[in-house]
Subunit: 411 residues, 2 copies
C-alpha cells in the first residue's frame, strides 16, 4: 500500500466546529421542541447587499452568450477587482500596493492554510493562544509542529503566545527564535485589537529577528476606534516582513459566496538553502497559479460591487447592524456581572466563564439551559480555557432574545 503523510496522525481530534455541531445535533434530537439560537460559528446571517446582488445577476447574464462569456480568468483575480481593492483598501489609507502584490482567492481559510507551503518545513511557527485552529493544523500537516503533548495540550515545536485577561489579550514577544508569526487582528476569537504603537513593536521585532508575520485581517471592516490600524502596512517597514490576509466573508456576507485576497509585497524576501534571497511574492505566485484556477467570475463581480458608492453604504449598514448586536451582547452580559472582552472593533464577544467553569461545561450549560450555541474558548487553545465566544452575527431579534435568556440563568 501507498504510504501516507504521517504528519496527519499528529492532528488532534476533529475540527472544533464539527464537535459543536455534534453536540448541538444530539441536543436537538433529545429536545426536538427547543428553539436553538446559534451565536457559535462565525457565520453571517443577513442577505447580501443590493449592489452585490445586482452585480452577480449581471455577471450571470454575461455568461449566457459567447460574446460576453468569461472562461478561465487570471488565477490572481481580475484587474477590475484588484484595482478596486488597491484603490479603496490601501491607497485611500496612504498605502501603495502594486497589482502584482494582490492575489484574489476563494477564502482566507484557504489562504492562511496554504501560505505555509512556501516556507521551509523546518520553520518554527508562533501562534497566539487562543488561535484560529487552521493556523496550527496546517502546520501539523506539514510536519512543523512536532509531537502533541497530551499533558500541556500543545505541540512541542510550536511557540504559543498566550493572550488572556492577565495581559489584556496582548501577546508577549516570543521567548525563543521563531521564523513565522501568525497574528490575527481584530482578533478571532477574542475580538481584541492592537494599537498602531503596539503593532509596531511586532513589525520591529520581525525586522530585527528575521521573521515573517502572517497578518490575518479578516475582520478589518469592523474596526470602529481611531487608533486601531486597518492594515499592517500602516506600520513603517511592514512590507519587508508581513503578508496580509483579507476576506469579504464577514465584511459583505460572502461566507457562502467565497472571496478573499492576500497581499504579498515585493519587498518581502526569504532565504534559500544557499543563503540567497528569494522573493516571497514569486513563490506565492507560482503556488497560486499552479494549484488554483481563479475565483468564480460571478463572485468577483459581486466583490467589486462592494467598492461602488452604493456598495460602500450598504456594507457600512451591514457592519453597523452586527456591531449594534455586539453592543447588545456586551452590555447585556456586563449588566449581570460577567467579564466581557472584544465586541468593540470586532463582531466577537469573549467572556470569562462565571465561577471558574471550564469552557465546555459552560457550552453545555448554555445549550441545555438557555438553548444557545456558542463556542468554547478552549477549542481555540489552552489559554482559551475558562473563556467563551459569542458572535454578533445573529439577527437582532435572536441576539436580544439570547441576551435575555442568559440574563435569566443562575450563574
Amino acid at each position: 500500500m501507498t504510504s501516507i503523510n504521517q504528519n496527519y496522525l499528529e492532528l488532534q481530534g476533529s475540527y472544533l466546529f464539527s464537535e459543536i455541531a455534534k453536540r448541538r445535533t444530539k441536543f436537538i434530537q433529545e429536545n426536538p421542541n427547543a428553539e436553538i439560537i446559534s451565536l457559535g460559528i462565525g457565520d453571517v446571517t443577513r442577505g447580501l447587499p443590493d449592489a452585490v446582488l445586482k452585480a452577480m445577476h449581471g455577471a450571470v447574464d454575461e455568461l449566457a452568450a459567447p460574446g460576453s462569456f468569461r472562461g478561465y480568468g487570471p488565477e490572481q483575480g481580475y484587474d477590475f477587482l484588484i484595482n478596486a481593492i488597491i484603490e479603496n483598501d490601501y491607497k485611500a489609507r496612504g498605502i501603495d500596493i502594486a497589482t502584482n502584490e494582490v492575489f484574489v482567492s476563494d477564502g482566507s481559510k484557504c489562504d492562511v492554510g496554504n501560505i505555509q507551503e512556501i516556507f521551509s518545513d523546518n520553520s518554527i511557527v508562533a501562534v497566539q493562544d487562543p488561535v484560529y485552529p487552521v493556523y496550527v493544523d496546517t502546520n501539523v500537516m506539514a510536519g512543523r509542529s512536532g509531537k502533541y503533548n497530551q499533558e500541556t495540550k500543545r505541540y512541542e515545536n510550536i511557540a504559543y503566545l498566550s493572550c488572556t485577561a492577565e495581559n489584556d489579550f496582548k501577546p508577549s514577544l516570543p521567548d525563543r527564535k521563531v521564523d513565522i508569526i501568525y497574528l490575527c487582528y481584530p482578533n478571532n476569537p477574542t475580538g481584541m485589537t492592537l494599537t498602531k504603537e503596539e503593532l509596531k513593536v511586532w513589525v520591529d521585532y520581525a525586522k530585527a529577528n528575521n521573521c515573517i508575520i502572517l497578518y490575518d485581517s479578516a475582520y478589518e471592516a469592523f474596526i470602529q476606534e481611531e487608533d486601531v490600524p486597518h492594515s499592517i502596512y500602516e506600520i513603517e517597514g511592514a512590507k519587508e516582513v508581513a503578508i496580509e490576509f483579507r476576506s469579504f466573508s464577514k465584511t459583505a456576507g460572502f461566507t457562502g459566496v467565497r472571496c478573499a485576497y492576500t497581499v504579498v509585497p515585493r519587498e518581502l524576501k526569504g532565504l534559500d538553502a544557499a543563503g540567497n534571497e528569494v522573493l516571497i511574492n514569486d513563490l506565492w505566485n507560482r503556488r497560486h497559479t499552479t494549484k488554483f484556477n481563479g475565483v468564480s467570475y460571478v463572485t468577483q463581480r459581486g466583490a467589486a460591487a462592494i467598492y461602488s458608492e452604493e456598495g460602500k453604504d450598504q456594507i457600512k449598514a451591514l457592519v453597523d447592524y452586527y456591531m449594534t448586536n455586539a453592543g447588545i451582547i456586551r452590555d447585556g452580559l456586563a449588566s449581570i456581572g460577567l467579564e466581557v472582552f472584544g465586541g468593540v472593533n470586532a463582531p466577537y464577544i469573549w467572556l470569562k466563564t462565571p465561577g471558574g467553569m471550564d469552557s465546555w461545561s459552560f457550552f453545555d450549560k448554555l445549550l441545555s439551559e438557555a438553548n444557545i450555541v456558542g463556542t468554547p474558548g478552549v477549542g481555540f487553545g489552552q489559554s482559551g480555557q475558562g473563556y467563551f465566544r459569542l458572535t454578533a452575527f445573529g439577527s437582532r431579534e435572536n441576539t436580544e432574545k439570547a441576551v435575555e435568556r442568559i440574563r435569566k440563568l443562575s450563574l
Copy 2:
C-alpha cells in the same frame, strides 16, 4: 530571514500557458492587424446552458434575504449536488458511491494539485508523458521529484510513462516500483482513451503492486464510443486502488464558474509508518475541511441544474457542438496528409508536426503564417516533442476558418 521551501527552486521555467501568452502578446504587438484564432488553451467559449443560468439567478435571489440566505455550506458540498452526482454519474452506470465519498471543490486543477499532500513525501510518482503539468509541478513543490536533469529534461525521481504514436499513446506499465500513478482519460493532451480491458490492466497492476491510481477524468462527458469507460470504478476492484477526479469545467462551460468533484472510496487504504492501514478518505476529508471552505452556493446550484432533464439536453448539445468542431479539425488536417490523433472521445486533437519539425517551431509557424495559437506538445513533456495540440473549444466559424488556413499552409 525566513527559509523558503527549497523544492520550489527545482521548478522549471514558467507554466506552459504563460509562455504561450507571452509569444502571442509579442506577435500581436508586432502584427496589430492579425486576426488571431486561439485553439490553444483548453478553455470553452460557448455560453452557459439555460438551465444553469436560471439556477444561478435563482441562487443569487436566495442570497438576498435572511430567510433564504446561505452562509458557510458543508466544505464537502451540498447534499443536493452530491446526490445528483451520485445518481447520474455513478448509479446510472451501476456504480455505488456513498455521499461521504464525494468531495465537491472549486476545480480539478486544485484537486489534482492538492491530493498529493496526503501521501508520504517519499512516494514515487509515475506520470504519463505527455502530461498535464500540474501533476508534476505539485510533486516538485512537495520534494518528490528529485533533481531536474537538463539533458533528459526530466526529474530523476519521477517515473515517466511515454505515450507516443509508437505505442498508440497507451503507456507501458512502470518498469520500477512506484506508489502513485496519475492517469488521465480521456487524455489531456493527446485526446486518446483506453478501453475497459486496457484500464483493467492498470487496476490489476495497482492492486498487485500496492499503488494508488489518481484518475483524472475531467473530459469524461466527451466520450462517444461504446467500450470507453466513463469511470474507473466500472472496473472491478478499482475502489480499492483509485481516486477519481471530475470537473464541470469543460462539460458545462464552468471554467470561469469553478466547480469539480473528487471521489475517494472508503475502500481505499494507505499505510502509516507503523504499518497500520489508514483510510485515505479520512485523510482527504481532514485536508478538505481544514484548508477549504466549500464552493460558492451560486455555483453549486448551477452545477446541480446540469443534472435536470433540461440541463442534460443542453449539456449534450454543448458537447455535440464541440465534438463537431473536433471532427472538422480531424478531417481537415487528415485531408492534407497530417497524422492526427484524438478528437473522437475528447475535445483535443493531437497532431504529429509535419517534416519532423519541433513543437515550438510549429507553434511559431502556425502563429506567424496562419495566425493560429495552438499548444506545443513538448510543453507537456519530452514525449510530446514533435506533436501539437489543437482544441475543439472554439466557435464553429473560427474552427472552420482555422482549418482552412492550415490547409493553405505549405507544410
